[in-house]
Amino acid sequence: MAVVYEKSRGLTDAELHYCPGCHHGIIHKLIAETLVELDLLDGAIGVCPVGCSVFAFKYFNCDMLEAAHGRAPAVATGIKRTHPDQAVFTYQGDGDLASIGAAEIVHAAMRGEKFTTVFVNNAIYGMTGGQMAPTTLIGQRATTCQEGRTVQQAGMPIRVAEMLSTLDGCVYAERVCVTDIPNLNRAKKAIKTAFQKQMAGEGFTFVEVLSTCPTNWGLTPVKAVQWLRENMIPYYPLGVIKDKGLEVR
């Protein structure tokens, strides 16, 4: 019998703890497949954040470090600078990266650190129970903005990929989602491109993945995908935001 699909050996056999309808599992899979396909898994070193993906070290079949909240880019800097030939990545959520770790991600990008960051933006704090994130949309309800986020109170949501793309050290920034097969394929290609550019020593590479949080959004998995399409994509447009290689060409 022909094998048409099997779990990537870039993942361990540990059972994922993520909620039904959450996209973390899919995004993990894309990274794992990429590491295998580019033959990087054996030397890869990953850094996981504080947030829903705090246990990512159980799922990736490569060496992993669990970082303090927001500090993954600093931790990855320490690793990559001393292991320049190995694939290094951080996996971070929006509270971790865009709020408490804003300084670390900006400066890692500014220095052009040669690692890849996969940024999972679900517009909310997941693990701590649905509080407002810097990426929470205007009008979106969260447990710390129960009538919906307002500009007066919290300002406009931050577009991290666009912000980082202004830095010379950031050579690649793309925003993707994994809501359907075409988008999933684009996401896979983006992650693969990021790792290829990392290994080519081009600079800092960044993939923002829009993701659902059905539990904290209070929606079914199917309605959550619809909400992402209707609300997140208009504010967080998909596509390549920066590709320094293309600019040069």
Binding site: T12, L41, D42, G43, A44, I45, V47, V54, F55, F57, K58, F60, N61, C62, D63, M64, L65, E66, A67, A68, R71, A74, V75, A76, T77, G78, I79, R81, T82, H83, Q86, A103, E104, V106, H107, R111
Partner: protein
Amino acid sequence: MAKELWKGNEAIAEAAIRAGCDCFFGYPITPQSEVPEYMSSHLPKAGGVFVQSESEVAAINMVYGAAGAGMRAMTSSSSPGISLKQEGITYLAAAELPCVIVNVMRGGPGLGTIQPGQGDYFQATRGGGNGDYRTVVLAPSNVQETADFVQEAFDIADQYRSPVVVLADGLIGQMMEPIEWRPVPKRQLPAKDWAACGKKGRDHTNVINSLFLNPEECDALNQRLTVKYAEIEKNEVRWETALCQDAEVLITAYGTPARIALTALDLLREQGIRAGLFRPVTLWPFPEKALGEIAAEPHVKVILDVEMSSTGQMLDDVRLAVEGRKPIRYLGHAGGIMPTVEEMIEAAKTALKEAQ
């Protein structure tokens, strides 16, 4: 070997390079900036990595990453910067990562002053971050010892998989002294087979982590750390004494004030007052037993603790060691003012008079 004139901060950096430091991550702050300055130029030439971080928070987390991947990693800072590193230090302790952290102390609290201070004793010896942990704390009192201790600190860190703090002060950092690059004792060190440096054929993943949601697992980590700390207390406690054999007034001091006290001892003895010095060299583990035994000697009438701290911080450990057996007096300055020989003599005389 010929002696060379070295500035304390540059000696710290050079000592680290000689000890095989692979990488240094730091942020400018007075009075320690010569450490990253020296490192930026000399460490890459020695094959190492230097990064000037965006903050002390980032620097200590770069140390976490490099140490977690098996490197000999180091950072240095001064008091307010060390406060910022506390988050990283508790994670390093919890994840059992070896590294060297140098604090060239200045006066506090807050921004304080850029002059020498010793107000970070509590922070260094009690674990300035959250949770139950300790770090080995070496307290040099001159540039030679600083150079020796920084080199040895890397081995101590690797032996116990623990952060090691070298607690100097602004005077030591800024002072130039003749020193000798003498060999420091080398230790048998365990292989870093735990490092998350890439599997490279290994049949399991290595994970560096300090999160244990299961209470039993978190308790087990704490039990393991407790056993390790007991081992360090047994093996690593260090102190020095001067003229203690007949001392009626026993001065306790570490770092720069201990050095000043040596002059005070001589002058006190010229005046017929038998003064001695007990100098803790490791602040954690604190030489509690050794100090307790000397303090219990019948010839010791009173103890005078001297620190560059307004209220006294090591004073708490001195009290715990002395256990009320002898009266204890305190002399201290903060804000960058160092206790003088004259003040020590005066305070020793007063203390002795009160005790009699």
